[in-house]
Symmetry: C2
Subunit: 277 residues, 2 copies
């Protein structure tokens, strides 16, 4: 990576991988998923005028010290329409500058539509990275990779049971997700491409990391989904590219009472300590 080059190109903005390295500080960074579900919010928050925002602000206040990144999942805001979108925008503005913001929308569409999504996520919402879906191929991903300072995490291996339906199919002698990883590497010309790899498939990790080579990682599935953190850490020990481990429910809903912020902060600190120790 040519640090000076990226400095010149973007008037001080760093290349996305460099930014990611700086926030994870050489280890594995904690990403806090901001997925507020109304029914799960503490009762006193539910009655506020903007409950998703009120919840997020307290979560951010108590967790930002331990978080390398935040990942709002767009679905949980879109479910509330205009009011949800407004609270998403305000949430994003409240995230401290030293944390990266990953718009988790798993977008994917052809040419001009993908360009519009990139504008939405990187310019209008001002997020630093986005999760994207590979099914439509490389030309649908390229619009997300035009800015060196913004990153895209391409879905490779997802943490849900049905993920295997397509991802594990053997295509031309290797599983589909391996083709996705090769495609991601071909697209990584500006060092701004990452992979989403679920922590619930530990048997894949060794091969997967060998193939992923210089791609950064976003790892959901730890916590509520039951992925094995220690197994994952062993595999990541010698991986040279930054990784973020995401936790949502285990942090957001650590307590359902008035102390939910404090409890989220404690849960975030514990997980962060496990990641760096």
């Amino acid at each position: 990576m040519n640090f000076e080059f990226s400095f010149i190109l973007f008037g001080g903005e760093l290349n996305f991988n460099t930014r990611l390295e700086s926030v994870v500080k050489g280890g594995i960074g904690l990403c806090v998923g901001l997925d507020p579900v109304m029914d799960k919010l503490p009762e006193h928050v539910r009655s506020s005028a903007e409950p998703l925002l009120a919840f997020n602000l307290e979560i951010i206040e108590y967790t930002h010290e331990y978080a390398a990144a935040y990942k709002p999942n767009l679905a949980f805001y879109e479910a509330h329409g205009l009011a949800g979108w407004r609270q998403l925008e305000k949430t994003i503005r409240a995230i401290p500058e030293e944390c990266l913001i990953i718009a988790d929308g798993k977008r994917g569409d052809i040419g001009s539509t993908a360009e519009a999504y990139a504008v939405s996520l990187f310019e209008t919402l001002n997020c630093d990275a986005a999760t994207v879906n590979p099914y439509l191929g490389s030309d649908a991903l390229e619009p997300f990779l035009q800015r060196e300072d913004k990153g895209a995490f391409i879905l490779a291996v997802t943490s849900n049971p049905g993920g295997a339906d397509l991802q594990d199919l053997v295509c031309d002698d290797e599983q589909l997700f391996r083709h996705v990883i090769r495609m991601a590497r071909r697209l990584n010309k500006l060092s701004n491409v990452g992979l989403v790899v679920g922590a619930t498939k530990p048997d894949l990790w060794h091969d997967l990391l060998e193939l992923a080579e210089d791609l950064s990682l976003l790892i959901p599935g730890i916590g509520a989904q039951g992925g094995d953190l220690d197994a994952m850490k062993r595999e990541l020990k010698d991986y040279g590219t930054p990784a973020l481990v995401n936790a949502s429910r285990s942090i957001l809903y650590a307590s359902s009472g008035v102390d939910f912020g404090q409890a989220a902060g404690d849960a975030a600190r514990r997980l962060r300590d496990q990641l760096v120790e």
Copy 2:
């Protein structure tokens, strides 16, 4: 399909395929893509307070007589953030009841997130159907298929050049998109599943329709993208399940002047006539 059963279940709401059949009237229906791009809007529209909405209202006024469905592409609204989302909601409310509304967002995510997207598209935005991405597997699609009166069009073969990157890979002796179609058929328990198949791949049509069997179709790629309408019509002649052909740019931007509504209406009528003749 058990008509009476669906009547009882949804208090008068029809099953999605039955609704689709009623709007395409036994032939191929026209779907008008509502993909407003600011730079392409006529100058006098661009200066209005809500330009996307002003544009859409006139497009709908002149085209609804010929349209079986409208398909707002969410990206073009999200690019404008809150203001865009507001204009999307107003656009959807302005579409006449006799036309179906397909939310084109190509969403796809795991369990609870997919449920939130289904709420967003089917309840909050009150659309009749959605386009969805199959990469995350069947459990990520099921939340979109819980209501008999709402449909989901699963991406199978897309019209962009890069579509082949994954979709044409040969997995266990057949191309990936064939696995997607089989998965779609397995999910079609309530007759509310369709496929998105691009019109730009005419060599695939014969086999594809044989495999698709009882799945409805949403066909982009006619018009600006250059798909061959006559070749497609020949193949669809004996297909028993309803199909929608989508056109966006060729209708929306038929004229860039003050007569854009009239020109869009003329383009919609000509294409509708070609579809039914």
